[in-house]
Symmetry: D2
């Protein structure tokens, strides 16, 4: 369960209050504001705040005094144009802030995106909760033989059982010892009044990388789409993709036109190299092209043919 | 006049509309939202949007589920503590967006602050208005003899007259020729239907650095305070300080507790070097200290004594 | 002439000295180190320092203890792979520093690339030289009628003559008045010993945007390629493209494999949107596709057909 | 042991080669280039590459054509001036690249410094070595009772023994199970040819935060000093301070004048708030000041008095 009843009450209270503002408002995003959208077994994504919407992109691109928008069709055209030609600065004029709960190994991938603001829960200062990630059976994948950075079919039978058993038991064990080293009882009292307890900043290092942490994470619309284009991609590790997928939905609620352009130009398209483009032109002209005469290596040829939906 | 009547109407319309939001609202800042706060002879600062307030800083520092704030006195204490110990990340959780009209030579100083988002009016694409900066008599300062990067007393009499005359006439002249090269009449029609007109991206280079440009500029609370600590400082050039001073007022409306801490720890304080601190300790212990035995150069000694309010 | 004889002597002296180092060395780049590579009428690009080469990219990608490189063919394959899949971080491990002299209006475009380090010559502190940009006749382009941000054919005859005349005379005039306001004679003595002279930080605002400034500019290999992909592109203004073209040559001397991949995947390729890719697939399958049934607007259809080398 | 004999051989080979360069060279840093400077039980810091030195700071500050340096005493004065007045951009003109091996919990603190370039060893792609951090007895500190983020006296006797026992056994256990889930034998062959082995990107999550990772980390001189001012500070966790201390030594070898200024103005000095400065002035004027009339809270008063070397 990602939330305690106290936390739920705090969130409900925030959701209940409304105030008037002169700022731009994104009504569909307001609907889910503060709500914990569940991800994985104990994680969540919560939208805490935002600034701007599709209209703010248009306004910045036009450096206008008023709203800047005209008809929706013109705004859509302008936003598509900006994305297609990588005019990224108007998208930096919108900002969104999330509260995210996520396993530490996911946090370590996520934090590599540097153009963002982060405040993480401090295990130097506080004690981490006993919450760790265990994959669902359908995500317990084998190592890919072909791609050192990929997954293969799902483990099954005895092997799967053994893995679940190890993951669970080790997670339980390291947490038990974490508390023992801290000299913390579950009731908050010291386990042993004679002992001092190891410093929190040291004891935490006994925890494993599937333990959950949480942070506030804030970024602008351009960097959000860049993050999503890498992390909602099929090559991303499933566990971070699960977060990205939920965030793509929040993007749709926030800036529907930017979301549309994002699907069309970022997630859905492809890039052709100079040689790849020359091959496509030759093929379109009806010329037969083979790998050997294409100028591409066998591997690059296969990649190109796959992206064009042709057998090799 | 910084605004045309059309622009005023657009702004009034934006100010008239209010919508409900679940987000944090800063009522004092809402009061001036969209308004053009005048700076210099034709410039302005307009707050277009914002996200968060003092409370968001506290919430991020505590990574809390609800508002995060307790009593005002506790929030003030926490914000002071964060600023004093340079824990800057919670201040990055608030964001503000300005629309600014400013002379190009001011824009060139301003843009050196890289951790911000900018959309500038494009003189490749559009034609600049005929608006240029002429200092008021009390700001027409002579070159400082002592400090190559500073100003001395104000010019007066014939010298001042001559400078005003040159600035005005040259500004008028380069704009007249800008329009002639563009082949633009003031009514929008070509001056000469036989001519093509020079490309806008070239013609603009005839304009002088006192011409006004404008941009949308967005940054977070931490970087805003860093900008203001450098640009509202006595060493900053007067013309950019004029903008910073107006923005300090918007900071006060937005995040009053952060504003208070900013005055106390950034604008109002001083830094002591290792040697400077040793001297202060000796002085406080009643020991006489002179420059020669202080370990400081004559110049550094004078700077230190001045900052401590003592004659050299 | 971009350089005085004193400056040339300083540069020759730097070029003459060699020292031993254990660091990676890029011999082809060493050949032109410190040299002023001319750009436009008074500008230049000088490579002042660099760190790393193709090998450093490979080493970082492999997080290896030694050099990291294997055979050239494997290194080439890895660098191509990294560029193609936008694994950009290994390219951030190389750094290059330039000294650039450029017109102010070009500097204003250039500075928008924020992930770089800059030290600009200060006109608050020092006096600018009398050097301004005048386009060569073949670059004196008319405003494009079709594209508000573009150029058309070159101006000729009387119109060209008049434009040259205006640009030259205004540039001369504003500089003469700059010196008069500064109360500076060309020999360094005051023009008029009775006058104080206007502060440099104010006088500079009378200069026009075609005056030259200069700066040290440093960036990493990834951000250099990003800069070049935008500024060596046909849509960039000619004057900044002239700098980018010279810098592409320095890239080739520095990191020949990255340069090759840059031409293949960045400058030479194209991007297909989701709809564009679907159209290409249909065309390759022999299906006739027309704009009306393509899902693209007329304008996007023309762009796609042009990029595929087909008439509309 | 931080290095295998293969790794040592690779490093020795790199150290043996010297090549001529026209670039600036820092001889004292060349002496330790590529060497593994040991930190903690299995970690190290290696300087892999650098660009510039004190002279490059001076050259950028003066935007000069040649070296830019004059006499050492003038260069020292300029560098001190730049640091004191927070003119940070000239320090960004120097760059340094490290190869660092460090426990994951240290890496998680370190990565919060965003203005740096990083390539980390990938546990999605490769298998981590069996190396984990165990504190030396003198660093096995108890939790501070006064400061939730601090350490107290060192644990001793039975409590210390028990903690060491838990840390070692859990570290051994999670690694054994990591290998079992991967289906990896220590000889590289599968443990069990019938099993597939869990994907590396999943198995790694069973490892604890004291396991070592490694990365290439590159930053500029300004950001290095900022990093060191926070991480070589007494408030930093001991384990990251151990790295910072070694890096301060490399700074001294690289840029001795900047290092001197860093000790004088960053590590050794203190900051006075507006109220604190007023109190110091009153004390220096011989006026008695007490906490109650000082305008400071009891806590801030104690902090100020401590920094001035006075009892409260």
């Amino acid at each position: 369960m990602p939330l305690s009843s106290d936390q739920k009450a705090e969130i409900d209270q925030q959701r209940a209050e409304q105030r008037p503002t002169r700022r731009v408002v994104a009504p569909d995003l307001e609907e889910v504001l503060y709500e914990a959208l569940p991800v994985l077994d104990h994680g969540f994504v919560r939208v805490i705040d935002y600034m701007g919407d599709d209209n703010a992109v248009v306004q910045a691109a036009r450096v206008s005094y008023g709203r800047g928008t005209k008809r929706v069709s013109e705004d859509r055209g302008l936003i598509n144009y900006l994305i297609r030609h990588r005019h990224t600065t108007p998208f930096e004029m919108c900002e969104i802030k999330y509260h995210v709960k996520l396993p530490i190994f996911v946090a370590r991938q996520w934090i590599r995106h540097r153009t963002a603001n982060v405040n993480e829960y401090s295990a130097r200062y506080s004690i981490l909760d006993k919450e760790f990630y265990i994959p669902r059976p359908e995500h317990l994948a084998a190592q890919s033989a072909a791609n050192r950075q990929g997954r293969d079919a799902v483990l099954a039978g005895k092997e799967a059982e053994r893995v679940f058993d190890l993951l669970r038991k080790d997670s339980e064990l390291v947490y038990e010892h974490y508390f023992e080293m801290l000299n913390e009882g579950t009731d908050g009292a010291p386990l042993d009044p004679e002992r001092s307890g190891l410093a929190r900043e040291l004891a935490r290092m006994n925890l494993s990388l599937n333990y959950y942490t949480q942070w506030y994470w804030k970024t602008d619309l351009h960097n959000l789409m860049h993050f999503l284009s890498l992390r909602a991609d099929a090559h991303a590790q499933y566990e971070i993709r699960a977060y990205a997928d939920v965030m793509v939905d929040t993007l749709k609620r926030w800036c529907p036109l930017a979301h549309e352009a994002f699907l069309e130009y970022r997630l859905g398209g492809t890039a052709l190299s100079k040689t790849g483009l020359a091959i496509v032109k030759r093929l379109l002209a009806g010329e037969p092209v083979e790998q050997k005469t294409s100028g591409l290596s066998a591997r690059d040829w296969r990649e190109l043919m796959a992206s064009l939906g042709r057998g090799a």
